[in-house]
């Protein structure tokens, strides 16, 4: 036993070091090839529009939904007699001031799309909106028209138009934006759901 211990020590001394070590470094390049474009969106939306939000300004609310819009200025008319009636021909009271243009009311559908894109020749992407149904019908003969559509994303080129352009955001943090539909409430005569079969707008994402 003692003899073996002496032999082992001799071997360690002969090796010249306690341990052997080899070290190597490697360089790594990552080449992303091709392109990827991902459009996330809500395909079924419903917007509840409380009519009180269309309440006129400059009028007095008798109740939450009933307004009186008095023109206090003296209106003078010269009466005429016709058919046994004395007619005082006033012109109709002026239209109240509504908070939105009822024939062209911008409805902003906020945060309804998100784009993730990478690659492409210019490292940009375009998002376009095209209109579908232009008339939503409601109870009875009530209808709401859709007269224009646009996409919105702050900082994009041609923002708030039918086609916007922006730099590819990558895949992790999407670019999120809105759709604007302009409504014509001329023929909206009843409350209730106004809808149509099919789609009201189509979004098209293109990685350019």
């Amino acid at each position: 036993m003692k003899t073996k211990m002496i032999a082992l020590s001799a071997a360690l001394l002969a090796s010249g070091s306690v341990f052997a070590q080899a070290v190597g470094e490697t360089t790594l390049d990552i080449n992303l090839t091709g392109e990827l474009a991902i459009l996330s969106y809500y395909s079924t939306l419903q917007v509840d529009l409380p009519l009180t939000q269309l309440a006129p300004t400059g009028c007095t609310a008798d109740t939450a939904n009933d307004f009186e819009c008095a023109t206090a200025a003296l209106q003078t008319a010269t009466a005429t007699v016709s058919g046994g009636n004395i007619n005082a021909g006033f012109t109709a009271p002026p239209a109240p001031t509504f908070p939105v243009v009822l024939t062209n009311a911008p409805l902003i559908l906020q945060n309804v799309w998100a784009v993730r894109s990478i690659g492409g020749a210019t490292a940009n992407a375009t998002l376009a909106v095209t209109q579908g149904n232009v008339n939503l019908t409601g109870p009875g003969a009530s209808a709401i028209g859709i007269i224009a559509a646009a996409v919105q994303s702050a900082g994009s080129t041609n923002d708030d138009t039918a086609t916007i352009t922006f730099a590819d955001p990558g895949l992790v943090v999407p670019r999120v934006g809105n759709v604007r539909l302009n409504l014509d409430l001329t023929n909206a005569t009843r409350s209730g759901v106004h809808a149509a079969a099919g789609s009201e707008y189509t979004l098209t994402l293109t990685n350019i």
């Binding site: 990552i30 459009l39 559908l109």
Partner: protein, 228 residues
């Protein structure tokens, strides 16, 4: 007397020759030799690729819960009815469909901010002669170099994710990738049959906005082989 000696000499030669012939035909002489080969010291050989380029087709990152319009373009429709009540801001009617729980739920096949990239079969180790306390063993360790400096292509970056410790993966005897643990304290396999394996580096695509080659100066990782 001298004559007799001369006459005997040819006979003696003939006898000796006859013995020699008969020995080659049916007799054998064998000898055993005891030879000891003493391998002294130790040897550790690390073979590796020092210059790697990985092509990553972006379609491999395509989401799994979306519809492909083309091989590269996907639409991810959230079909559930979403209802919002408008608010009026100025002359606009706004319906805010907060996307936090809707549009952001795109399922990618990898975790894009901590994506494991497995560089398969990029190292081979041959070791012999360890004399450590554990016996004939060696260790191989991996170190990321400058992990906070991303690979870049212009403004686009691919980060070396530090959320996960980079790992070494060794192949088992069938050549299949084994577990995902660092290779330490493995038994010396000798010089003929190398122990081979892979390197796992986790990538962060948070700031990756361009395709193309992402690179940087210097090396990304270092392997250190130690024969204990």
């Amino acid at each position: 007397m001298r004559y007799k000696q001369r006459c005997k000499l040819p006979a003696l030669v003939a006898v000796a020759l006859g013995i020699g012939l008969s020995s080659a035909a049916w007799s054998a002489a064998t000898g055993n030799s005891s030879t000891a080969l003493n391998l002294t010291g130790r040897l550790a050989v690390l073979s590796y690729y020092s210059n790697l380029a990985v092509d990553l087709p972006l379609t491999q990152l395509a989401p799994t819960n979306c519809t492909a319009d083309t091989p590269n373009d996907f639409e991810c429709a959230n079909t559930a009815l979403r209802t919002r009540t408008t608010t009026r801001v100025g002359g606009e009617l706004r319906a805010n469909f907060n996307p936090v729980t809707g549009l952001l739920n795109v399922n990618f096949p990898v975790n894009l901010i901590n994506a494991p990239l497995i560089l398969q079969n990029v190292w081979a180790v041959r070791t012999i002669g360890g004399t450590g306390l554990l016996g004939a063993t060696s260790s191989l360790t991996l170190a990321l170099l400058n992990p906070l400096t991303p690979l870049s292509n212009g403004a686009s970056q691919v980060g070396l994710a530090t959320l996960s410790v980079p790992g070494l993966i060794h192949n088992d005897t069938s050549g299949v990738i084994g577990n995902n643990t660092p290779v330490t304290g493995f038994t010396d396999a000798g010089l003929v049959n190398a122990r081979t394996g892979s390197v796992r580096i986790n990538l962060n695509f948070l700031n990756t906005t361009l395709s193309g080659n992402h690179t940087r100066a210097g090396s990304e990782y270092r392997l250190t082989l130690t024969n204990l």
